[in-house]
């Protein structure tokens, strides 16, 4: 297997842009990534596009995007894994390059949720849960309730995640929200699914992010500061119709263990993490799933401020999904963009000092009987 490097990244600010097209958002992110990488667009051998095919936007989004930037005829693969679509597209590119099929590929994640209107994303009617009134926030609300019951986790500890990530978002020009929130504002915002209020939930929105990825064989031609992808792991949720422990996300544990083993990097070696904080409870639970602390101690980790920008292991310096936003297909690629910027020392006011190693974690998609649908872990090294 060959080494794989990220040599260029780009993204647009996340937000609500119903007036622009999805291809135009993707085009701008891709253009920035290509400029950053120094490759000639025609040298790109394959493109992997993460997108969730929202109603009205249809299929073949990847082909439409690549047509706009003048790259046609090459293999283009559209990848849908809901919240992990972008990172699953990246995983695909990694493994095609690692195995020797291609030397140079583009990864683009893009989504436009603003055209769907306001509110929570509609639940699927072919799942029994969605049919009977389950909404995505309610799954995490139930995880939160059980975590509080079993481990004494408090709503204030959950709120601190939102406070931290919004504070980080203020330092990130690409963040959808650039405004701090207080404990009082979080508590008094409208209830989505008790105990989670709106400010415990990530927003919906639009965005695009892109990365240019190449093999170790050709990396020296392009970049003096390449970032190595030390591990790229994708897992799906396992079926369990029984008494599963909902406070744990089994696939995050399985994926991170494999990524740690492949890269020789352990949780104690990481300098920063971008993880899937779709809801505040998710971040607390993933501290535990990723091995940053013992099971049940996630609330204490945020109390001890260890995951703050200046803490021992900064989590979501970009603002995370809670503040930076969560345009599904774009999210996983944007996490990788952030880590590349951090490892190069180009993250501006939110720079984690002397960052050498970072982990990106993306997981999502409620499927009846599964502990969510798909999970990716990527470990990047300077």
């Amino acid at each position: 297997m060959r080494e794989v490097y990220v040599i260029g990244v780009g993204m647009i600010r996340f937000g609500k842009f119903p007036e622009v097209t999805i291809t135009d958002m993707a085009r701008r992110a891709f253009r920035d990534a290509v400029k950053d990488s120094g490759v000639k667009p025609k040298e790109i051998e394959a493109a992997f596009i993460g997108h969730v095919r929202q109603p009205g936007q249809g299929a073949m989004v990847g082909q439409r995007i690549m047509r706009e930037v003048g790259i046609t005829g090459i293999p283009i693969l559209n990848v849908e894994n809901i919240c992990s679509s972008g990172s699953s597209a990246f995983w695909s590119a990694f493994h095609f390059i690692s195995s020797g099929k291609f030397d140079l590929a583009a990864v683009i994640g893009v989504e436009q949720l603003s055209v769907l209107g306001k509110g929570v994303l509609p639940p699927r009617q072919d799942d029994l849960e969605g049919l009977q009134g389950m909404i995505l926030p309610s799954y995490f609300a139930m995880v939160a309730r059980r975590h509080m019951h079993e481990y004494g986790t408090t709503i204030e500890q959950l709120a601190k995640v939102s406070i931290k990530n919004h504070r980080n978002g203020c330092l990130n020009p690409y963040s959808q929200f650039q405004k701090e929130v207080t404990l009082e504002e979080i508590a008094s915002s409208p209830i989505v699914a008790d105990p989670l209020t709106v400010l415990h939930c990530c927003p919906t929105g639009d965005g695009a992010a892109a990365a240019i990825v190449c093999s170790g064989d050709i990396v020296k031609r392009f970049s003096s500061k390449p970032i190595q992808v030390a591990a790229s792991v994708l897992k799906s949720g396992s079926y369990d119709g029984g008494w599963r422990d909902l406070t744990t996300n089994d696939q995050t544990i399985r994926a991170s263990h494999e990524a740690y083993e492949l890269s020789g990097v352990g949780p104690e070696d990481l300098d920063l993490i971008e993880l899937h904080d779709c809801f505040t409870i998710a971040e607390i639970s993933h501290y535990e799933n990723l091995g940053l602390c013992e099971k049940g101690d996630g609330g204490r980790l945020i109390d001890e401020r260890k995951t703050e920008l200046t803490g021992k292991i900064p989590v979501n310096p970009s603002g995370g999904l809670l503040a930076k936003g969560h345009p599904l297909g774009a999210t996983g690629v944007a996490q990788l963009v952030e880590i590349v910027w951090q490892l190069r020392g180009e993250a501006g006011k939110r720079q984690v000092s002397n960052a050498q190693t970072g982990l990106a974690h993306c997981v999502g998609g409620v499927v009846d009987g599964l502990d969510l649908g798909a999970c990716t872990i990527h470990i990047l090294k300077r």
Partner: protein, 143 residues
């Protein structure tokens, strides 16, 4: 149960095969699980293929009508067509099966993690023709 009224409105189960209909044979209605005849794995909703051993020899069995509330939430921001607030939760049945369910007849006192809950049936909503969509629900056991 409703359904005694003279009306051309029908009662339609939310999905076929999930529960025995309340008006059938006067027996207590129940949730229908599947049990694998090879490895005895029990599932709800019923499966066509066993998740453990890939067998397709599945039989239908009635599931217990009482269980424990593993966790729950009260929805404040509904999907289209539903009125808030309503409660949903996961109910652990003695068979080792976890059932997603609407929780009904609750108050702040009775809605608790670990609460004993029992099966009931009721209207989920009306469809566009005014027919009643019937579903299973669980409610806290009184006293």
């Amino acid at each position: 149960m409703a359904g005694e009224e003279k009306s051309d409105k029908k009662i339609i189960p939310i999905r076929e095969g999930l529960f025995s209909l309340p008006h059938e044979s006067g027996e207590r209605s129940y949730l229908i699980g599947s049990r694998c005849n090879v490895c005895a794995q029990i599932s709800f909703p019923p499966r066509k293929v066993c998740s453990e051993c890939f067998s397709e020899e599945m039989e239908s069995i009635p599931l217990s009508s009482k269980g424990k509330l593993y966790t729950y939430t009260i929805i404040g921001y509904p999907p289209p067509g539903l009125a808030v607030p309503y409660a949903i939760g996961y109910v652990d049945l003695p068979e080792g099966v976890r059932v997603f369910s609407i929780i009904t007849d609750w108050d702040q006192e009775s809605l608790k993690v670990g609460a004993e809950v029992e099966l009931t049936f009721g209207k989920f909503k009306e469809d566009k023709d005014g027919n009643e969509i019937l579903t299973y629900k669980f409610r806290p056991v009184k006293g």
